[in-house]
């Protein structure tokens, strides 16, 4: 759901990426010449689009806002695609392997209500006030200080996330294909710098739509062929139950197939979460925080050509979002029963901690067989497999949960198709980086450079600054990627930036948009103190893991629960600060809030449209499908 950030919030995938480098000596797949041609063709297309759009990107409005001429479909696909990164695909397929369909919460309740709320309730204000960015909205509503806090936090987050994304891509390409880390980092960063620097946001949006099609074209085969081999949905369910019954598990095997039934207790479901955390922490704070205030995604909708298109875009995106579990969650579940070792026996995947403990020495054998043995003892690996791993036998490598999707791709995709699948992964990574740097460029230029450094530049001057900031952003990202490579622990902190920042920002924007009484000082203090509070909670658990039980309200809570509850507390803290401060300070005159706040804004009349083209119609359809899916998989 949150692109690269999903990992930090849920799957823990990116945090453990460096561990992936330790164990595997053999890449998972070998490309044939046809695969290489498929990948090269993608790069050629990306650069063609960048060069083509350069001629149509001359003004700042065209460079930073794509000329505000995107249709609802393009804005909607770009909106959902900006979030559909490769780590998302791999991380959630791994999570489905571990936790069953509970992982689907991050696609449904963790996305759909927020997307619909953005389209129906918030877009009018973002769009009517003609802001260029989310920090820009904060400036109009709360003033310069709140904007500066948000802009600096966002700019740092974006550029570091781009670096982490770059490093993550290099690691995945190393593990899956055996590619050199430096090669992946340099090639991907040059391509991103070229096409975003040339075509600006329009180029980024075009490539996100292209990536969306490629991901479906590349990944859809895995669940189709997997279901054929598993004997359909019924066969899959039967085989999963058989497999899980042979494993020692503290939860009932059929809890892997229920979204809500076993969430009344932390201990009753494989994910260790409670429904209150899912509904209020994930479904409200994290989800609304990401989908309605993160400029990376909101920027795509701001590029729509009119208000109706801007409102329709997230609603269109919600339908595609509901379908994504088919290519992400289902392959993870299929991996549970279909993956095999080279000798034909059932293959079990393990956590990164196990593969890290079982690192092989250069000369063969294990670096520390004692640690490896202890780590494997906590898994359900059979005695035979454990013995093979300890003896360092060929073909005995362990694979991690997060490799479930690549392993399934290799299982079904021959030459050409494998290239398409790998291209989908590369496209996912690159569009993630492009999204980060294009959003960074806009915030840097409009919310930092223009108001704080050079207020009176010409339009062409700011376009030049935007292009240069993309180049500099990519260079800093490369530096961040190498920094993460050297100091793996940094990754935890970089990814925590999002979860620390999102909840206070949500509180600040919601009160600003829907409560006329919220004052300038309240917005600034609510945002700043909420960030500090959230960071404190993060550090508390980081240095005292026992504090998790306090933050998540249960000794049975797992790390997954910490993220959702921390967000919830940070939101409430910010909300209290905003309400109390507003009560103690003088509100702005209502006339100044026109275009910014509900109840103080007269929205422009929209062109009449038949019922089947109205946003409310499709929002209701989305709600019905969303409710039906949750009931079916209750």
């Amino acid at each position: 759901m949150f692109g690269l950030l999903t990992g930090s919030i849920a799957a823990g995938f990116p945090c453990s990426l460096p561990a992936m480098l330790l164990f595997n000596t053999e890449p998972l797949a070998h490309l044939r010449s046809l695969d290489v041609v498929v990948i090269c063709l993608y790069f050629a297309m990306v650069l063609w689009i960048g060069f083509y759009l350069k001629g149509r990107t001359n003004t700042s409005e065209e460079f930073f806002m794509a000329g505000r001429e995107m249709t609802a479909w393009i804005a909607g696909l770009s909106f959902v695609s900006a979030n559909l990164g490769s780590l998302e695909l791999m991380g959630w397929a791994g999570s489905a392997y571990q936790y069953g369909i509970l992982a689907t919460h991050w696609y449904w309740i963790g996305a759909i209500p927020a997307m619909l709320f953005l389209g129906l309730m918030m877009m009018p204000f973002y769009y009517v006030c003609k802001t260029h960015s989310v920090p820009g909205y904060l400036n109009l509503r709360y003033g310069e200080h709140a904007r500066s806090v948000a802009a600096f936090a966002f700019a740092v987050e974006m550029i570091l996330m781009s670096g982490v994304n770059m490093f993550a891509m290099a690691v995945v390409m190393k593990v899956v294909l055996g590619w050199d880390l430096n090669f992946s980092i340099i090639v991907s960063s040059l391509a991103v710098a070229a096409y975003v620097g040339l075509g600006g946001l329009r180029s980024a949006i075009f490539n996100e739509v292209l990536q969306f099609v490629l991901i479906w074209g590349g990944a859809l085969l895995v669940p189709i062929l997997g279901l054929v081999q598993a004997g359909g949905v019924g066969g899959l369910k039967t085989r999963i139950m058989q497999n899980l019954q042979t494993m020692s598990s503290t939860v009932a095997p059929d809890s892997y197939f229920h979204l809500w039934r076993d969430t009344g207790s932390f201990a009753a479901n494989p994910m260790g979460v409670h429904w209150t955390g899912i509904v209020f922490g994930l479904g409200f704070v994290i989800s609304f925080g990401y989908w309605t205030t993160d400029f990376l995604v909101v920027q795509r909708v701001l590029a729509a050509h009119n208000l109706r298109a801007a409102r329709m875009a997230p609603i269109i995106g919600s339908f595609f979002k509901m379908a994504v579990p088919f290519i992400v969650i289902l392959p993870g579940l299929l991996g549970l029963v279909l993956l095999q070792n080279p000798d034909g026996s059932h293959r079990q995947l393990v956590g990164e901690d196990v593969t890290a403990a079982c690192t092989r020495a250069t000369a063969g054998g294990l670096e520390n067989s004692g640690a490896c043995s202890a780590a494997m003892a906590k898994t359900n690996l059979s005695a035979d497999v454990q013995q093979k791993v300890l003896s360092g036998a060929p073909d005995s490598e362990l694979h991690t949960y997060n490799q479930a999707l690549p392993l399934m791709m290799v299982r079904y995709m021959g030459p050409g198709l494998l290239g398409l699948g790998i291209t989908a992964l590369i496209a996912g990574f690159m569009s993630g980086m492009a999204g980060n740097v294009s959003a960074f460029s806009t915030v840097w230029t409009y919310d930092i450079y223009k108001p704080l450094i050079h207020k009176t530049g010409s339009d062409s001057h700011y376009v030049l600054v935007g292009r240069l900031s993309i180049l500099i952003g990519v260079i800093v990202s490369i530096g961040a990627a190498y920094l993460v490579q050297q100091f793996h622990g940094i990754m935890d902190y970089v990814q925590a930036l999002f979860s620390i920042f999102v909840a206070p920002l949500l509180a600040t924007i919601l009160f600003g948009m829907f409560w006329k009484r919220a004052t300038r000082l309240a917005g600034f203090l609510g945002l700043l103190s909420g960030i500090l509070f959230s960071a404190s909670l993060f550090m508390w658990v980081k240095f005292n893991p026992a504090a998790l039980a306090t933050v998540a309200l249960s000794p049975d809570a797992k790390p997954m629960a910490e993220n959702v509850f921390r967000a919830l507390w940070a939101f409430l803290f910010s909300a209290i600060v905003i309400v109390v401060t507003s009560a103690l300070t003088k509100p702005r005159p209502v006339a100044e809030l026109d275009g910014l706040v509900y109840g103080a804004t007269k929205l422009p009349a929209e062109e009449p449209a038949p019922w089947y083209k109205r946003e409310w119609t499709w929002a209701i359809v989305a709600v019905v499908i969303f409710a039906a899916l949750n009931i079916i998989f209750w």
Partner: protein, 77 residues
């Protein structure tokens, strides 16, 4: 995108057509030469008897051609 430029759907059509044609072509080659390769080919890949590259490549090609024709430059006003 509105306006007179090349729509993104055209770029997508071009890429899908190229990918589909290559994958379809390889699939036909693999099918015709299956006896030459003997048994399961490519090694380790499952369900090769379904000839996935042929129908998936054909599907991508058809979709790509449709997009190229429908969104070719100059057609959209």
């Amino acid at each position: 995108m509105r306006g007179s430029g090349i729509p993104i759907w055209f770029f997508i059509g071009v890429l899908l057509t190229a990918y589909g044609a290559m994958i379809f072509g390889y699939g036909v080659f693999e099918w015709v030469n299956v006896a030459h390769f003997g048994g399961q080919y490519p090694a380790g890949v499952q369900l090769t008897q379904l000839h996935t590259p042929v129908w998936w490549g054909g599907l991508l090609t058809a979709l790509g051609v449709l997009y190229v024709v429908k969104f070719r430059p100059g057609r959209i006003k």
